[in-house]
Symmetry: C2
Subunit: 346 residues, 2 copies
DNA sequence: AGCTAGTATGTAATCGATTACAAATTGCAG
DNA sequence: CTGCAATTTGTAATCGATTACATACTAGCT
C-alpha cells in the first residue's frame, strides 16, 4: 500500500518520462507519441493516479466550480432549478457549490468570500436581494467572477439573467379568471421588496385595469410565497365582508395553504372561490383540487442560467454586455378555478 | 485599477514585511507583533486582498469542500436535508458541493472524480445504492476521504450513517391504524432494492404479524416514492375486489398521489380508506386532508451527518470505527386517517 | 557583562500540477 | 551529406500560499 496518493512525479518515474510529458499525455494526448502515451496511461492505471485538481486549478488560475446562491434551500421550488444547473454544469467540468443566503452565517462578509474568484469561477444567484455594494465590485470588472441571475434578479439590468415574464404570467392568470366570469378578483402577494412580487403584482394590476375590473385594496393580501402565508391570506379572506370570488396567488405554495385553510373551515374550492397559483410545482397537479397555475420551466431556467454563465467564464469574461433571457410561461388550467357563481346566491 | 487581484507578495511589499509574516498575521495573528499585524491588516484593507484558497488548499493538502450525493435533486424531500448540511458545513469553513447521482453524466467514472480527495475532504451520500466497488476503495483506507451516509445507507455497516428507525416508524403507522379499528391494512412500497423500502416493509410486516393481522399480498402495492407511483397504487387499490380499509404509504409523496387519485375518482379519505404517509414533508400538514404521517427530522439528519463528517475530517480520518446514529421519528396524527367503518356497511 | 529564554521575523522549500522555452530527434528535399 | 522543418521530450519557472528552520532582537537573571 502506498503511503500517500501518487502524484505526477510518481507517474513520471514509473513511465520513465518527465512530469511535463505526463501532463501533456493527460491534458493534450495528441502531442505525445503513441508509445509514451501508452506508457503514461499504463502507469496511471497501475497506480490509480488521480490528478490533483487543486494544483491544476492553482496553475490554471481557475477553480472549476460555480456557486449557486439560493434564498432558501428548504423551499422545494428551487430543487428543480438546482437540478437543471447541475445537469449542465457537471458535464462541462464544473462542480456546483450551493449557499443558502438566508442562513445566519451568510452575512455580507461571508458571502463575499464565496463570490471571490478563488472560490468559484462564476456565480448564479436565485436571490435578487443580494447587497448591492457587494455586487458592484463584481461581474468581471475587477477580475472577479461573472454573475448570472435566475428567477429573481436585481433592478438595473446590469447583470445577465434568465427569467420568465412574470407580469405576463400574472396577466394570464387574471384573464383566465375573467374568462370564467369572475369580476371580483383578489391577489396574494409575495414578500415585500421582492422583484417577483412587484412584477406579478404589476401584471395583476395591469390586467385588472385592462379588463375594466376594480382594484380593491382589501383584496390584495400580504404573503411571502410560503405555505403558511397562504394560510394567513385565507384567514384574511374569511374575515372580509365582501369577498373576491377568485384569488390569484403569487406562488403555488401560497395557493395550497390558502385552499387548505379554507377547506378546514368548511369552504370548498372552486365552489366558494377560485384559486390560481404560480410556479407549477410538482404537487400542483396532485393537490385537491388540482391547481390551476402558471407553469414555469424550472429545469430549463437552471440549465439556461448555467449555460450562459459557463459561456461567460469561457470567453474570459471580458465585460460582455448583459444578456437577458426570458423563458415562456403558460397557463395550466386545472380544477382549482371554475365558473363564477351567479351574482345572486341560489 | 489593478491589473490583477493582489496576492500575498503584494501585501508583503506594501506592509514592508515578508510573505511569511503576512501569512502568519492572517492565519495566526497572535504570533505577530501588534505593529506588524496592523500594517498587514492595513495593506489588506487598502488593496481588498482576498486569500487565494486554491493555493492555501494545495499547501494544506485539503480542499475545504464536502460533496453531497443526492439521488434526485428534483425531489423536494431532500431540500431540508441539504439545508441542514449547509447550515453546519458553512460556518465550519466547508463549501457544499452537490451531485445528482441519477443524472446521466454521473456514471461510475465520473462519480469517482467527485469522491477523490482532490475534489473534497469528505462525502455525504443520501444515496444508498452507490456502486460497492467504488466505495470499497474509499473511507480513509487509501487516504481517500471519509464518508457518511444519511437517510439511506449501504448494507454491511462499514460506513458511518445518520438514519432514522424506519422499521419502527412503519410499525408506528400500522399500530396507529390498528388502534383506529382497521384490520385490513395495505402498504405502498418504495422502489425495489432500496434500503428504506425493505426496512419500512419489514417494519410493516412485523407489526401486522404482531397484531395478529393477515398479510395479504394483493394489498402490497409497488411504488418508488414518487407522486406518480402513489397514483398508480390508487388505481391498483380501486381495481381490487376486496380492498384494505387503510393503506400505509412508504412516502408522503406517494400518499399524496394516492389520495389525489382516489379523490378524482370520487372517493374520499379517510371516509373510504385511511392513509398514512412517511416523511412529514412540508406540504403534508396542508394537504387535503392533512396527512397523518411519520415525522422525520430532516434538518437534523443533514446537520448531524455534516457534524459527523466534519469531525472525521478533523481527526485525520484514521480508520475510526463507523458511527451509526439513529434519530427519533414520531407519528403525527392528522386527518387522513380515521376510524374504520363498521364491518357491515350502513 | 554574559547567558538564557522567549519573541518576532525572514529565507527558502514545499504542495502538485502546467507551460514557455530549449534541446534532441527524425524525416526529407536538395 | 547537409540543412531545415516538424515532432517529441525535457528543464525549470510558475501559480499563491504555508511552514520548518534559521536568525535577530529583547528582556531578565546572575
Amino acid at each position: 500500500m502506498e503511503r500517500k496518493t501518487p502524484n505526477i512525479q510518481d507517474i513520471a518515474r514509473l513511465a520513465g518520462v518527465s512530469t511535463a510529458t505526463v501532463s501533456r499525455a493527460i491534458s493534450t494526448p495528441s502531442v505525445v507519441s503513441e508509445a509514451t502515451r501508452e506508457a503514461v496511461f499504463d502507469a496511471v492505471r497501475r497506480t490509480g493516479y488521480q490528478i490533483n485538481l487543486t494544483a491544476r486549478n492553482l496553475r490554471r488560475r481557475r477553480t472549476g466550480a460555480i456557486v449557486v446562491m439560493v434564498p432558501d434551500l428548504g423551499n422545494p421550488f428551487f430543487s428543480r432549478i438546482l437540478a437543471g444547473i447541475e445537469h449542465v454544469a457537471a458535464p462541462a467540468g464544473f462542480s456546483v457549490l450551493i449557499v443558502d443566503t438566508k442562513q445566519p452565517h451568510a452575512e455580507e462578509g461571508q458571502l463575499f468570500t464565496y463570490l471571490h474568484n478563488t472560490r468559484a469561477d462564476g456565480l448564479i444567484s436565485l436571490d435578487g436581494s443580494l447587497p448591492r455594494a457587494l455586487l458592484e465590485r463584481l461581474d468581471g470588472s475587477n477580475g472577479l467572477p461573472p454573475i448570472v441571475f435566475a428567477c429573481e434578479w436585481m433592478a438595473g439590468g446590469l447583470f445577465s439573467k434568465v427569467v420568465i415574464d412574470n407580469a405576463a404570467g400574472a396577466a394570464m392568470a387574471v384573464r383566465h379568471l375573467h374568462n370564467l366570469g369572475h369580476r371580483r378578483i383578489g391577489h396574494v402577494r409575495g414578500p415585500q421588496g421582492n422583484v417577483l412580487t412587484s412584477a406579478r403584482l404589476q401584471g395583476t394590476r395591469a390586467a385588472l385595469k385592462e379588463l375594466g375590473l376594480q382594484i380593491v385594496p382589501e383584496w390584495f393580501f400580504d404573503g411571502d410565497f410560503s405555505l403558511q402565508s397562504g394560510v394567513a391570506a385565507a384567514r384574511a379572506w374569511l374575515a372580509l365582508q365582501e369577498r373576491p370570488t377568485a384569488v390569484f396567488c403569487a406562488s403555488d405554495q401560497m395557493a395550497c395553504g390558502f385552499i387548505s385553510e379554507l377547506s378546514m373551515e368548511g369552504y370548498s374550492v372552486p365552489r366558494d372561490v377560485s384559486v390560481v397559483g404560480f410556479d407549477d410545482i410538482d404537487i400542483a397537479r396532485r393537490f385537491i383540487p388540482p391547481l390551476t397555475t402558471i407553469h414555469q420551466p424550472r429545469n430549463d431556467i437552471g440549465a439556461e442560467a448555467a449555460k450562459l454563465l459557463i459561456e461567460r467564464i469561457g470567453t474570459g469574461m471580458v465585460a460582455a454586455p448583459a444578456v437577458h433571457e426570458v423563458l415562456p410561461v403558460e397557463l395550466v388550467a386545472r380544477q382549482s378555478s371554475g365558473p363564477a357563481a351567479p351574482l345572486v346566491p341560489y
